[in-house]
Structure formats: C-alpha cells, structure tokens
Assembly symmetry: D2
Homo-oligomer: 506 residues x 4
Amino acid sequence: MEFEESGIGEECGVFGCVAAGEWPTQLEVAQILTLGLVALQHRGQESAGIVTSTGTSPPTYTTLKGMGLVNTAFKAEDLLKLRNGNLGIGHTRYSTTGISELQNCQPFVVDTLHGKIAVAHNGELVNASALRKKVMRHGVGLSTSSDSELITQLLALTPPMEELDTPDWVARVKNLMTETPTSYSLLVMYKDVIYAVRDPYGNRPLSIGRLVPISKLHNSGAGEADTEGWVVSSESCSFQSIGAKYYREVQPGEIVQISKNGVKSLIVVPRPEGDPPAFCIFEYVYFARPDSIFEGQMVYTVRQRCGRQLAIEAPTDADVVSTVPESATPAALGYAQLSGLPYVEVLCKNRYVGRTFIQPNTRLRQLGVAKKFGALTDNFAGKRVVLIDDSIVRGNTISPIIKLLKEAGATEVHIRVASPPIRFPCYMGINIPTKEELIANKPEFEDIAGYIGATSVRYLSVEGLVSAVQGGIESHGKDERISTKTTRFGHCTACLTGKYPVELEW
Amino acid sequence: MEFEESGIGEECGVFGCVAAGEWPTQLEVAQILTLGLVALQHRGQESAGIVTSTGTSPPTYTTLKGMGLVNTAFKAEDLLKLRNGNLGIGHTRYSTTGISELQNCQPFVVDTLHGKIAVAHNGELVNASALRKKVMRHGVGLSTSSDSELITQLLALTPPMEELDTPDWVARVKNLMTETPTSYSLLVMYKDVIYAVRDPYGNRPLSIGRLVPISKLHNSGAGEADTEGWVVSSESCSFQSIGAKYYREVQPGEIVQISKNGVKSLIVVPRPEGDPPAFCIFEYVYFARPDSIFEGQMVYTVRQRCGRQLAIEAPTDADVVSTVPESATPAALGYAQLSGLPYVEVLCKNRYVGRTFIQPNTRLRQLGVAKKFGALTDNFAGKRVVLIDDSIVRGNTISPIIKLLKEAGATEVHIRVASPPIRFPCYMGINIPTKEELIANKPEFEDIAGYIGATSVRYLSVEGLVSAVQGGIESHGKDERISTKTTRFGHCTACLTGKYPVELEW
Amino acid sequence: MEFEESGIGEECGVFGCVAAGEWPTQLEVAQILTLGLVALQHRGQESAGIVTSTGTSPPTYTTLKGMGLVNTAFKAEDLLKLRNGNLGIGHTRYSTTGISELQNCQPFVVDTLHGKIAVAHNGELVNASALRKKVMRHGVGLSTSSDSELITQLLALTPPMEELDTPDWVARVKNLMTETPTSYSLLVMYKDVIYAVRDPYGNRPLSIGRLVPISKLHNSGAGEADTEGWVVSSESCSFQSIGAKYYREVQPGEIVQISKNGVKSLIVVPRPEGDPPAFCIFEYVYFARPDSIFEGQMVYTVRQRCGRQLAIEAPTDADVVSTVPESATPAALGYAQLSGLPYVEVLCKNRYVGRTFIQPNTRLRQLGVAKKFGALTDNFAGKRVVLIDDSIVRGNTISPIIKLLKEAGATEVHIRVASPPIRFPCYMGINIPTKEELIANKPEFEDIAGYIGATSVRYLSVEGLVSAVQGGIESHGKDERISTKTTRFGHCTACLTGKYPVELEW
Amino acid sequence: MEFEESGIGEECGVFGCVAAGEWPTQLEVAQILTLGLVALQHRGQESAGIVTSTGTSPPTYTTLKGMGLVNTAFKAEDLLKLRNGNLGIGHTRYSTTGISELQNCQPFVVDTLHGKIAVAHNGELVNASALRKKVMRHGVGLSTSSDSELITQLLALTPPMEELDTPDWVARVKNLMTETPTSYSLLVMYKDVIYAVRDPYGNRPLSIGRLVPISKLHNSGAGEADTEGWVVSSESCSFQSIGAKYYREVQPGEIVQISKNGVKSLIVVPRPEGDPPAFCIFEYVYFARPDSIFEGQMVYTVRQRCGRQLAIEAPTDADVVSTVPESATPAALGYAQLSGLPYVEVLCKNRYVGRTFIQPNTRLRQLGVAKKFGALTDNFAGKRVVLIDDSIVRGNTISPIIKLLKEAGATEVHIRVASPPIRFPCYMGINIPTKEELIANKPEFEDIAGYIGATSVRYLSVEGLVSAVQGGIESHGKDERISTKTTRFGHCTACLTGKYPVELEW
C-alpha cells in the first residue's frame, strides 16, 4: 500500500559523505550525496537539499535545495556548483504541499561566531515546545516551525559562545542530548567534520558505510587502505548504489566523528537507568526499504518472519496466498511458506498511475483503486484467496481491492495483516492520522471484515511482531556482518500499545 | 527489464469511446479516454492525444495533445474543453525525443469535402514508402513522416471525392485495406461513428469493451439494456479502470462500426489464400500488460506457461528461482512451479530512480544498475540462483545484475530467458535495435554466458514459445470469457525467425 | 495603445536569410533568423518558427517551433541543431490562445514528390474558402484552418506533379498567384533557394536587405563584393539588428529568387487592368515599427505628417499637446510642431504591468488602466490638454485615461485621433473586432466625446490620411535611399471606407 | 538606459496596507499588496514576497514568496490563501541570480516569545558587520547574509524578552534605531499594527497613502470618513494604481503606527546634532518612477529641472536635442526648452528584446545595442544631435548608441549627462560597480568623448544637481499637496563626492 494513501509517512532521510585522503579529492561528493538521497527517496518526497563544504579553513559551504523528488529538485548544472565539495550532508523531506515550504527544506545552515554549521535531522523532538520557548526567551526569533532550525539555534545558543574560545561543537551536541531525549538522528557538519548523532533511545536509524573502489566491492576485497571515503545514512540500502560497503550502525546515544581521517566514536550518552532502547518497530514493518539492514538483520527477512508468524497465529482454510504489491510481498511469501499454500499474484500494478486529475462527482470516482491495479483473474477465479497486507490504517484502500477480487471471481477473500492495529499517535517523527481517523479506533472495527467486505480479517499480535523482530536479533551472533554489539535491545511500539519510551511531558 | 533500456519498444496504443443512448449523455467521454490512455501508457510515453466529437450534425471536434505521459500532457482545465464530447478517440505514442515532435502526435484530424475525420493508428505500414509516393504523385504534400498522416490522406484521396456524393468512409477504409496488408489497428472517427479496424493479418491487437453501471460490474450483472457506452482499446487491461466489461476482439481484417446504437461488424477483408493470421507474438512475451486478454487467454498465464516450458527445456541444478522484477515474474513463478525449486525475490527495485543526470567519466558510472536494484542478500547468499528474464536484447543490462548478485554472495547465477533470441528487425510497429546491436547476432553470442558473466545461459526455443502461446488457445474452448471464435490462428515470429508474414517489397 | 487591448492585430511577420558565397558558410543563419524575428515580434506574439536548409542536394531541413515570444519559443540548445543551415525562413504569429495551436505555427514544411518545400506567409487569402474546397475535392485532407497549409497544398497540387519532371516551383507559384489575388507576402524555400513573393496588390509589405561586414555598415562602405548574404523581411526595421543594409522592396506581383548567387527578379504578375496597388494603409498608421521603411519613406515620418495634418484639420484651443505612449508620440510631436503648442508628457508607463491575475468583482477592477499609466501631474494640472491617440477601436481604453487626467487636474482633455474611424472588417490579414464592436458603428458614436468623457474628439479625415501617406511618396524622388521606382501607387483603406481592392466573392 | 546594463541597481521596494474599519473587511488586502508591488517593480525584480495578518488575537500570518517579477512569483490561486488578510506587508528585491536565493526573499517572519513579527526592509545597514557579531555572540545563528534577518533578530534580542512582559515593539524598534543610524526604511508588522520606520537620516524614501472609494478619488472628494484603509510604500507612484491618495511622507527618524484606527506618529528619533538629513539624491536622478513624489516635488519635474540646469551649464551649438529612451526624456525635454533647440526622437526601442541567447564569438555580437534600438534616421540625418543621458556608469552602453547614430547620418553627437560622474561606492543600499569599473575613475575619462566616440561630453555639476533638486523644495511652500513640513533638508551625494552622511566605521 502506498504511504500517500494510507496516510502514514516517514518524516525524513539524512545522508552524509566525507571523501578520504588528501583534498581536493577526485571523489564526486555532490553526486554521491544525490544518489544517496535518491536511495532514501521513500523516506520523503516533498523536498531535497544538499550542503557541501570545501573542508578548507575557512570552508566554503554551497547549498542546493528544491521542491519535489531529488531528480526534480536538482539539475545537472546546479550540481556543478558543488564540485569542490570534499564533504557534505543531504536531506529528503516527507511530502506535504505548498510552494512556500521551501524554507522548511533541510539541511539548515547557520552562521555563528565560529563559522557556519549545517544540520540535517530525521525525527521529532518530544519536548520541542518547551525548547522553542527556551530559545525564544533568550531573544532568538525562529523563522520556521521546524525542529531542525530549533536544533541549530540550540547548538548556537548554549553553552554561551565567547568570541575567543573554540566552539567545541561536541560539547554543544552533548549538551543538546541532555536537553532532549528523543527522537533524532542528526548530521552536523562543521568545516571538515561530520558529527553523526543518534538519540539515546536510538529511535531513528543511522548507519555508516565505507566507500571502496568499485572494483573491490566484492565481499573479500577492499581492506582499510582502500577506503576512498565514508558515508552515513538513514538506511544502508543507499550504500550499494554509491559503491559503499556496510560498516556499522551508530549506536543509541552515540556521537561519531567522521572526517577524512576516518570514523571515531566520541561518546555514548546513556539513557536513564532502566530504560531500554526504543528503535521504531515500524521501520521494520513499513517504512524502510527491504534491502536495508538494522540491528544486523535485513528488513526483508524480518517481514518474511512476520508473515510466517502470522501464518502461525492466523491460519486460513484457503486455496492461494497473495500480496498487495509490492510492500506486503515478503510477508506473503513467508505466510505461503509456513502455511504450505501456493503463492500467486492476483494484482498487477499500473506504474503510470500518478496524481489523478479526474474531477469529483463522476461515475469514475466509484472505480477508485481500479485504475491502479489490474486483476490477474486466471490466478484466483473460483478460488479462496488469503491476501496479505502490511498494515491497515484507515481502511479505505483495502476495501476496493477486495471488491475488485470478488468481482473478478474470488470466492473468498481473507485479509491477513502482517502487523497489529495502529491505535495511537506518534510524537517521534512519524505522520499518523488522528486517533479518530484510525480504523482500529472506530466502532466499525468491531466488524472490520464486514466493514471492508472481506470474508475474514486477522492481525498479527504485538507479541508476534516483537518476537518476529527480536527473534532475528537474538540469533544473529552467527551473522558476521554485525560489527557492533548491542548488549540490550528494545523497540518502540507506542503506536500499537500507547507505551511511549519517554514521558511525553518531558 | 525496462523497455527504455532494452531498446525494444511498442509504437503506440489506441483507445476509443462512444456514449450510448440519447445525447448529450452524462458519460464523461474525455475522462474515460484519459483513463483508458493511462492504462495503455506502457505502449507509449512520448506524447498523448485525444479528439472528441459532439456527434452532432455537423459535429464539433475538439483536440487535446501534449508531450509526455498522459498525466503530464493533459491538464484538468484542458479536459473541460472536451466536455461536450459524446464520442472520441485517443492515442499514446512511444518515447523518442524532441519538442518539435508534437506534430507527430496522434490522433490526426483532417478536413475533407465531407467534413473532418480523426484517425488513431497503432502499427507500421510495410509498404509505406510506395504509398507515400503514390499520394505525393497525386499532388499531396505530406507534413510528417508518420504513417498515420499517410493513412488520413489515403482515406481522403481514393476513391475520388465528389462534392455531391456521400463520402462512404467504409468503402474508403476497405480500399485502404486492399492497398496495404499490414500492420495496423486503426480507429477512424467520423461525426458520430468510430470505425475500429484491424489489418487482415491481425498483427496488432484491438479489443472491444462495454461500459456498464459501476454497480453492475459483477460477472452476473449488467445485461444489454444496461449498456452505457462502448470502448475500444489496444488492450483489454484498460477496461477495468473505466468500468467496462470485456466484449470481444476485433477480428483480423474486420471493420467494426461503433456508435451510440451499438457495435456492428461491417465486413471482414480476407487475407491472401493460405496466409495464416500473424498476431505479434511479442505482445505476449513482452509488450502487453499481464492482465490483458488476447485470443481468449490472459497474458500473465501465457508468460507463466512460457516459464513452465522453459523449465522443461532448460532445467537447472540450483537452489532457488528468481526474477528480474517485474516483467519476468510470471515466467519465474511458472519455472519454479514446474521445477519444484523455491521461488524467492533477490532484487528490490528503487521506484524513484528516474532519468539520471550523473555526468559520465565518474566512478559512479561503473555502478550502473546498482542504483536501480538493491540486492536482497539473505535470500540468496551462498546459494545457486536461477534468474529468469523475459528477453535479452543487447545484453548490457543483465550483466551488471549478475555481477551484483555474485558480489552479494550468489555462488552461481544461471540465466534462463523466457523467449528465444531476437535476431531480425521488425517492420510492423516495433522499435528493435539494428541487427548489429542485437546480442544474438554478435560473435560474443557464441559464449554468451561468459560474455555476461553468468554461470550458464539458456533460451526458450521458438517451438516452445509457440506451443506455450498456442497451447492455451487450443484449449480455451472451455473458457467462457471468449465471446468470439477464432477458427484459425497464427503468430508473427519474424524477429525470431526472419519469416515475415508478407513480402516486404509488397 | 497596445494591440492586445485595442483588439486590432497584425497576423504575422516573415523573415528569410541566405548566406552568400561558398557553403558551408560561417554566417550563423539560424541566429540571424532569430534576431530578425525578434525585430518583427510586434507583428505576432503567439508563436514563432524557423526552418533552415543545408542547401545541399538533397537538402536537410531542420525545424524549430514554439509557443510565445521568440525568446521563449527557442532555446539556445535548440538553435544548435540548426547550425548547418545555410539558408532558412522564419515566422512569427499573432497572439491568440491555446496550446493546441502549435500545429498552426509556421513555417509549414511538406514533403512532395520532388522533395520538401517550406512556406511562411503573412496575409489572408480573400478566396480561401473556395480554394479549400478545390483542394479537398481533389482528395487532399487539410489538417489546419491555416491559409499557409492551403498554400503549400496548392503548390503541391497544380499543375499535376509527374514523377520524372522537375517540379518548376516558379511556375507553381505563378499559378498560385493567378488563383488568388491577395493578400500574401510569401517566402517559399526549396533546397538552396528562397522565393520571395508579394501579391499583385502589394497588400502586405516585404523588403530585401543585404548582409555586409559589421565594420562596413557605414553609409559609404560595403560594395557588392562585400555581400555576406541576403535577408528578406516583412519590415526593414529588422535589418539594422542583424547588420544588413536596406536593398529594396519586393514589388507588388513580383517573384524574387534569392540564393547564394544573389537576388534575381523572375517575374511580375500584373493586376487586372485599371486596378491600383493596395498596400495596407494601417501598416503606416498602426502596425509597423516606426523605423521601418515602406515605399521609400520612414513610418515615423508618415506618422508625424499625420499629426501635422491633424493639427490643420482639427486645431484646438488648449495649453499643451501630449501622447498616449508610446505609439502615438510621432503624431503628437507633429501636432505640437504645427500647432505651436508645447509638447509635454502626461503619462508614465509602468512597463512591468503584464497579464494581471486580479479577480473580477473587486474594488480594484474599477481602477482599470491606472495600474498601467501614472499621471505626471505637474505637467498638466490646471491645463487644457490635447491628447493624441493613433486610433480608437472599441473606445474602452481611452476613457479611463481621460478620467485619470481629469482627476489629476486637467481642466480639459481634447482627444485628437491621428487616423479616421474604423468601420469595416478586414479580410486581408488584419484581426479587427466585429462591426458591432467598433465604436464608430455604435449609436454612442454620435456623442463620442460624451461617451468617453472627453472635452472634444476629432479624427483625421480619410483624405488627410491618404495625403499624409502619399504626399511623402510623391516627393521622394529626392530621397536617395529609394532604389526601386514605383510608377503608380495606391493604398487599401477598406477598413475606413469599405472599398475593398478586389471583389470579396473572387 | 536600463539598470541591468548600467550596473546600478536599487536594492528593494517595500509596501504595506491596513484595511480600516471593522474586520473582516471587504478590502482585498492581498491584491492591493500585489498591485502595489507591481508599481514598485522597478526597484527590484529578483523576487517578491507578501505576508498578511488576520489582525486577530492571536493573528494568523500567511506568507507568499516567489522568484522573479511579481506576476511570475505569485499565482492567482496562491493569492486566495491570503484572502483573510486584514493587513499585510510586501517586498520586491533587486535582481541577482540563483535559485537558492529564495531564502533571502523578504518579508522575514520570525516567531518570538510574544508571537510573530514580519519585517520588510529597504536599505543597507552601514554597521551590519558589527551588529552580526553582536547577535552571534549572544548565541544566535544567522541563516542568511541579509540585513533584514539581522534586523528581525536584533528586534527579538534586545532588550531581553521576559515571558510575562509585553513585548513593547516600539521600544525595540527605537533601540534598533540607536544601534544603527542608516540606511533603512522599514515596515514591521505585529498582529494588527504596521510600524513604518525611516532611519534618522531619511536615506531611503517612505510615503503614506489613504485608500478612498474609487468614486471619490477626485481631488475634491473623499473626507476622513471615507477612509477605507492605509497604505505605505517606498514610492507614492504605487498609490494611484490601487486607488489611494497621497497623504504624507514618513519623516527621517520617525516611527509611524498604522492600524485600522488610523495613522499615528509615535516618535521621531533625532540625528546627532549638526547632521543634516541625507536622502539619496540618486532616487531623483535615476531610481524612482517619474510620477513619484519626494519632499513635495514630482520626480519628473526635478529631472526636467536637471535638464534645464544642464542646458545652462553645458550649452551646445547643435540642431536637435534628443534622449536615450525612456529614462532621460524629462531631462531632454528640459534641455530643449531652455536651449530653444527642437526636441526630436532619434531612437525607437524594441520592447521585445529580452535576455538574448545568442552565443559569443559571432558576427552578431558586434552589433550590440542595435537589436535594442532602431534609428529614426529621418529625424537626425545630416544634423548635429545633442543626446541627453541620465548617467554614465561604465561607459559601455552609450558608445554603441553613438556609433549607431553616426552610421545613420548624424554629423555630430554631443553627449550631455543630466547628473555628475559617479566616482564612489555606496554603502547604503545601492548596487554600484566597483570603483575600478566606474568610467569616471579610469584613465580614459581624461578623453571621455574620444573614448565613447562622441563629438563632446559634458556632465551636470554636483552643485547644479543639488540646486535642481533643492530649488524645488525651497519653493514648494506654494504647493498644497505637501502635508508635512521639512524644516531642514539635505541629500546624500556620497557616490558623487565621497562625503558619506555617517562615519562608515560607525
């Protein structure tokens, strides 16, 4: 199901790159950033931005921002202006509307007494409102409603900047982390360094990769000496497209310094005693690209495990298993494997259907989803279908699909949802409809199958989801790809359970 | 594999609609045409056009044309201008480049002594060159290189137009069919009628659908009395998205008249004795949308049969079967079923990768396909993979995919192609690279596996393809969906065998 | 007054260029054509087009067309495609609306048995309707409503084209001239030749210029040997901007062949005995740029003479004379000179006022013209103003100007119009409002001063206009710039008098 | 001469509007702002912005910004979003290049402890660098290089904002005025009030107008009771186009509060003892629209006086006087009047010449200005011409004009410049080329006539300019339009004399 339709949306993706070795380097940092952002495009389509630094003293910063997809927002001739960038950070932003929003486009660059810093942010500060007041009480005007501008001003503000001192940005970042517990994965660029920061709860992902010669991308090749540079990204799926190898995740609470000299862990700010980490479980269920790796496991594999768990929890007497393409496919294959039912395709997607301009109150509106999916009738006519979806948010997109399958000859359509019902708002960076709009909070949920026209509807349990996610981590000691140790782990399931990782009044 | 990359491209799609009953009707013909073209978008992305007629006497024709995808080419406010259209035809055109090409955009409308006709054409006239000379010798200037303009002038030209006579367009179309044997599926609109025409060889597809009330789309509903209008389309996949039911195909050589009074077969122009029909077999293999129906069978099912046949012809000692998403998936599932090997996904597609603007001579160019596909490593690392592709044209897109899989841990990559090698040019509407560019004609083809880096490469045989296609037709008597009888059938395999359905010097 | 507001509009401008000497030449023909069209932009702002020919055998033609002003329609990178053009013709078209009009954009290129010809046309065929029928009866479909397509098809059609003969385009053009008497100034390009043609009545202008080295543009320099090429244009004002010297006008009925070998008069097709020429008098009054030369006299000078004549015919007891900027300024200065009244500026124009998007039914609509002109109060407050306008078409633009001046303190505002009232439609290339819309045909015209709020209104007489125009020609024997002799002259005053130069039923 | 070519440019224009009476009002504030900015478009073409406030408590602010001319930057549908605005301020910005500059687009809106303020600024702070340091030392990050952002942060910063206090914006503005002496004309909007502020030296203009019913715009009509609202603008030329009457200027150092209750002078911050005002004299010479009123006199009239003074200082033995259209025309008419020489037009402007895309190193580059101006030969051939220009900055645009006139037959071309030579940079809001680029500072200036190809060149003296400007003010007691008293006056002539109104190290 599409994010746009379901009404759930990730807020952002961040990406950074530092060329290694002597500068100016031959590495096209601006182009790597662009490709990296394209690979994170699923995390935000409203706008995109890049800031590069020459890494010199003083540095020259060059900024490129635009509305829309990365390919629309940047033009080839614009990229030429960033040619001398030896390091840089970039950002993609979730789709809302309105041209005046360009001012919310990240990264934010501000000039301070000690020079310019650039900041890219994924997440949402739980105590943003109190922090805004604090900053404004100090006499700072805020020109946007963005948390990221707030972060830049907080960094500039405290501890007091004295003209002769060095800025000590690490102390400032650390100070910021004591003022706000979550949620943020941050990139802060200053001169020739990028600080990669993840909040103490590790709510948003952040991974580090190593650029190696294309010819040495093979598993066995490329030693340390071959390093051409470093990248840092919301998701590791972006590494492959720019010729980088997965290195490790930034740990919850960690500040990592990335420069041409390499990667250095500076500090790990601890959580309050007893608090587990709270990595967003919906990154696994929904947001992340299936080829990304979190906590040592591939997202695709986790989704497949969810499908298997769902088959255990909600077995079905049916003929075939299928998927709402494309995001539910791994779960559907998992369900098919465990249930022993054959996997078939029942829907074919018209990838040219874009924003429609058909006017309301016409006969055609009733057709709804039909212009987006074609029914592969032969595969299910006269059969009982188990249709796997990854989640049901408002319940208004699955219902025309069921109608379509039934009209085309399915005798039964059993909906199996590879995640639990969403019931609570998220205050940590995910755009979820209001409580009232969520189908799981409506009276109709009592008879959800009747409401959406399905033969039956079953959801994965919260416990099932957590075990599908964490079961993989527990056993991943065997997995050599994991270069860091997570002694404890935990996940944020607030939107499912209402249990938030921190006090919201924080 | 994407059409753009493989270098094979369909030329066009055509779509027509007539509102039934008393006019003005409440049916939004222009919007139905637009949605119909969106569903045919895979047949052409260069430009789109619509012409509607008020169906009055005299009629008012309104034209809307634009470059690019349908959603780009037309704007909501433009569609309002076509509001009074009671019938109309539309066209999408294959992607070449250049703004001045708008003049090639169809449908073509020309004014004649008896009023305006509008023509939309899919196909390519094998004797276009001789026909152009004929027309020009008569003193007609041709303003484009398009066959479709040529067709309109041929229709206007012969037999001689006398001022007082009626135009007798049917005689003119019949005359045209005697002058050129193939290839064309044509829509000719005149006042309140659309003539749907398929060449005697039936080289290009053309299907008719019936608009019914959305509430009666069910299989069992909607009798004749419920008919709200008629549509005619290159592919039946477009019917569902506008609320139409499949009615039947236009037969090879047939002229069908579509008006508000219904559908009427006027004539069937025969082929030379002994010539079988020659429906393009690549419509099954490659071009058509999987949910379209030709000759009574769903394209998806034919592709699946190709995969099964391929498993019989080219079995493999391997661990998993997979696909190059998305077009080869039915064949891959068919191969998996018959071979008993498990089907897994090995590649995840980044649907945001568009036209790239990365400059040449950079490190990044070497990465090629990597920005388009992510490797789902867990599913194949340490395994022997059978990778199904639908065809290999130039051989330059499959090779980086193989490299990607190997680098990510596949121990063997066996390529199985669900169609035979393409060796010959097409003169009937398909854009194929020159003979020299086709990998099957190159010396490297001797060791194609070595050339593209695969462990092994096997193709489906021509006989296997034909039997996979025709086997379904032979047995489709059981299929109630088929409303017309095809007493004989045959397919054009010229690009595979060099055997063209007509003399090219015709 | 602006054309757009007055509702009077020229239909088109044409421009051609041939590089002299051996080819390929260093002359940038495409750029000369572009600049030439920019200088003719006042004759048409809807669309622009260029076709160049390599002049080789066979030639390659390249076409560039676009909507809007020349600078919008063509892009620098597009012009590069025309780089090899050794000759070419171009066209600008009058502003109407609608994107689909690109197909009406000239020049028209059609392929014939003998190769391609390109045609650019300024004017309107008085017998277009009969000619369209003739062409269509022959079996030719016409795809536009444009006279120019009609002309190309007429050229292709008659006399019959035989495959082995040479085309004899000159005979075809001559034949065309016998079929239609007026109005057209035509450029016909074929291979390496441009035929410049003016209808027998000379209704639309056409002038020839000679490209010389920039360093020899001085009056005294540049002999025949220095010729770098030839240009032909609707107006000589375009010569200066591309470094050409005025050579001569194409005579009424003349076909001039322009090639790299020079300029050659081929034939002069005569008018019916007794018919005088009929050059459009409104080219002098209104359309042409003031620095253009027609019939040996500068347009500016003629307008100034109109102002002087107006001062004789309609003297005023007033304090100052002024102009509605900018087109009426020469007449206003002429009026001031002869009347002895001081010339002052009373209005200042805001050149940034473009298409306004202010919605109707607001307070602001009442302000009308006020956002376009500012009042220079000091120059006329407390004074009696004579305001010269070049023409009054519908009477709705002058009235808010009068109101503005009165509110700003003018005690009297006397309108003096430097041309007679327009009362009749034009069928020869000028876009004039319908008879009913013309203020001179309305009852309000009885008290035109009261209607528009002026103290008094007086027009130039038809006789006065003709004598102001022809008086200059009669005396121009003294003017050395005139290289051709016009033994007789005459002007079309049909829109003022209803006397058309030819029978309209022709 | 065009600003773009001369290299001199105004930085900005500001405009504000408050609807009077009970809210919501029927006055379309957003449309008035738009039209007001269109009338100030000559002061800046890079970008435009509007912010409106509902004037409620709390207010809703809506912002609209875009690149390019006002008509390009705003679209009709965007304006609808500002429909509820009961007051608002707008800004146009001078043309530089670069898409990322949208962030510099004004007005700036910042959120403070006491709500949002919006600021629009025309001018340049002489001590910006010191103020930036001060702000940053306090811990504020600055995201642009714009003085206007600096002003907003200074307003937010001092005196310290305490949560419970009222903000006292007037005290903050007053404090700002003690921190920076010049140059600024400011509009500060807060909730339902606009503060209109002019720096103590009055360096940039700012005028107030009164909106009256269109029907009562007459001099005699519209008493206080008819007031529909108030506007404030950089120039009074914008009043007429929105139906406002000139009210008065904001005085140097004055803070005027504009609300729905009317206009109230709050305070006048004095200059250091002995310092005269320093209104930029180039507003008269060059920047302002001729129908604007400063210090009680119309700019056109001042320019005419400059022309008369120039005729006294630099008389010429010649035949005709003319102008480089259009800005030098008042001076040319003044020169003609006093000298008794006839005024003629010698150049006609092609208003369609825009940004040219002709490539360098072509024959056409040499033609330079010729594509922009046509020579009206008849008016000056064989004559001695006095050509008035308003200023000569770099000397590279006048020289091709002289060449053009000479080639077209002028026997002598005497350049008379209606202002003194520019020799010094401006630090107060005007974009002037570097000292080295100014022709008056080059060795060639010794023989400027020879350098630019003129027969002779003479400039107006500084004393002559000052007396032409101030002579009108001294005598304007007679002028009833002046509603305020200027007891002393003075003008900044720094770019001519190097005498800056304040210490630059301030």
